[in-house]
Symmetry: C2
Subunit: 350 residues, 2 copies
């Protein structure tokens, strides 16, 4: 019954590409069945790697190109000069319908710009957003925007809220997900103009959205809401600050536990527990940022990740595709906001 | 040789006030010598508490008032109607020269507004900022603004940079502290207009400031710079997100270590190490946000803290006073930016 899923991969993006990419494909196969990869990059480098990864080789087709987008390449240069880059060709494969989704660990700005140019945005969406899973004390939340849009107005934030809601309902499988806007306080009076206006719009709307209101930074990991909405400047900094804190915690813990013989022995006895703990907060498990609002599935892997992290990014793409996320968002977005509440919809429901 | 240090305390601010405040005073005495407290609040509540804390009672003078600012009170109402509140009278004592600094765990917005009204800003500072110590892998950094100014322009950010530099040099005792502006990427092209302009100003200035450039969220706890400059919206959210992550980590670790008998035994053996680790990341150790740029020392304690946290906020006030922070900032600010680099200073140095 299962159809073969075709995914398009930029083999040359990321600090440890292409080795990490090929290993990531191999790792992903422990979870994926009926999958095929189109691997865009330098055949001279890719062919020997695939020889060493026979599982991956069996489901992968190399699409040769020697050009690649660099990490410090400007967006304008990538758009103009990058037409034969591994990143661009991998996106083109989705645009042409050859692949159902694309994964790259390369230059985020270039990936977003080229994906927007090739795939276009979904109806009703002005600007795509970067979304990612976020571990919380009550399971996983989703947070957006994480850096696609440095300046956001209230309309952008409301669109992010709608996309996040659709994602949480269809992909996370939550019946009535709650949405919060990230702010410096929970009271209505606090914050900048964009968040105040967006909050008022979501409070007054007749859309069937469970709007919690404002949340503060520490509410994110407390899991107060299922969807955290924020502008790309704040979201990017909040996410990375949190990653940094997690890393520092891990370092401090490691240092403390290796200070004496007895603490080392204690850590040895608790090693299974510590391993579980480590796994629970392993950033590779949350790797794979989703570009929501595009007419095609596009996943950005962390540039510095390893095979396990890249495999997870592949898994995120597979999840969005399996749940027909873009079809759902199109349907639901039309239903939710295609008819603005102030006109037909409001009239119809009253 | 030591003069008596007089500190003014709002006894009625904070979730666990006034008990926590009186206990905090008692706790602070293990570190402080030659100190006197003016304690503003309801005598009926405070007198019995002091009876139970004889050390604190010996150095504390109650200044009776029944009025208090509530946590949800609006800034405008606090300014107009709060003239006899414990918070306002505690600030007034600094304004009148009776006390060298004030500490409150109450409503942040009201405290900032009243402190600004009573104490005024230092010469050259348009807007005061909230600053706090931040634990990093390389020791402590200082970060500002953490919420006083939701919207900041480039001039505000540059003033924060100058204040942070003076703080790091005089209070942290660093010879040549490095300054970074928090952004979504390290490249000059990234970010919003305010950070791009502020960065250009700090790069081009002839001021003797060691400007590192942009830093990202995860660079904060990596300790890449000594002073992290950001607007109050982003800074508040980054700080609280980090606090939330730390709390979640602690919870996950506790859960993992209590899952089996053997892990419990391991944790017991490693309990000294775990205690050290816990102490290292204890948020109470970083309690006490400094309102920098005011003509008087004003410290905001976290509202939900306990006696240990409040004692730390008292310690922060004492540190700023002992290092004559406001005199240094006045001297250094005049030296650093009294003459803007575009006019006299630039002309003189070229």
């Amino acid at each position: 019954m299962t159809e073969t899923l075709t995914l398009s991969i930029d083999a040359m993006g990321g600090d440890n590409a292409p080795n990490m990419v090929v290993e990531g494909i191999e790792t992903s196969l422990s979870h994926l069945a009926e999958v095929k990869f189109l691997l865009f990059g330098d055949e001279v480098k890719l062919a020997p790697l695939l020889e060493n990864h026979p599982w991956a080789a069996a489901v992968t087709e190399i699409r040769h190109t020697v050009e690649a987008i660099t990490n410090d390449q400007k967006v304008s240069s990538a758009l103009r000069g990058g037409r034969n880059s591994s990143m661009r060709l991998a996106i083109d494969a989705v645009g042409a319908g050859e692949a159902a989704g694309v994964i790259s660990a390369g230059n985020t700005g270039a990936l977003m710009a080229m994906a927007k140019f090739v795939l276009k945005t979904l109806p009703g969406i002005d600007r795509p957003a970067i979304a990612a899973y976020y571990p919380t004390q009550r399971g996983e939340s989703v947070m957006l925007d994480l850096g696609a849009n440095v300046d956001c107005d209230a309309d952008n934030l409301v669109q992010f809220a709608v996309m996040g809601e659709v994602f949480a309902r269809n992909v996370l499988g939550l019946e009535n997900p709650s949405i919060g806007i990230l702010n410096v306080g929970a009271e209505n009076l606090k914050g900048n103009e964009a968040v105040k206006k967006a909050s008022a719009m979501l409070q007054e709307t007749s859309l069937p959205i469970k709007f919690h209101g404002f949340i503060e930074g520490d509410d994110i990991s407390a899991g107060i809401v299922n969807v955290v909405v924020t502008d790309g400047f704040t979201g990017n900094i909040a996410l990375k600050t949190s990653e940094g804190t997690a890393k520092m915690f891990g370092e401090f813990l490691k240092q403390a536990l290796s200070e004496s013989l007895i603490s080392k022995f204690g850590a040895l006895l608790a090693s299974n527990a510590l391993k579980k703990f480590k796994m629970k907060v392993d950033p590779r498990r949350y790797n794979g940022a989703m570009f929501l609002g595009l007419n095609g599935i596009c996943i950005k892997s962390h540039g510095g990740t390893d095979a396990l992290g890249f495999a997870n990014a592949i898994h995120v793409a597979e999840e969005l595709i399996t749940h027909s996320f873009n079809d759902r968002i199109k349907e639901d977005y039309a239903l939710l906001s295609g008819n603005p509440p102030t006109t037909e919809k409001a009239a119809g429901s009253e």
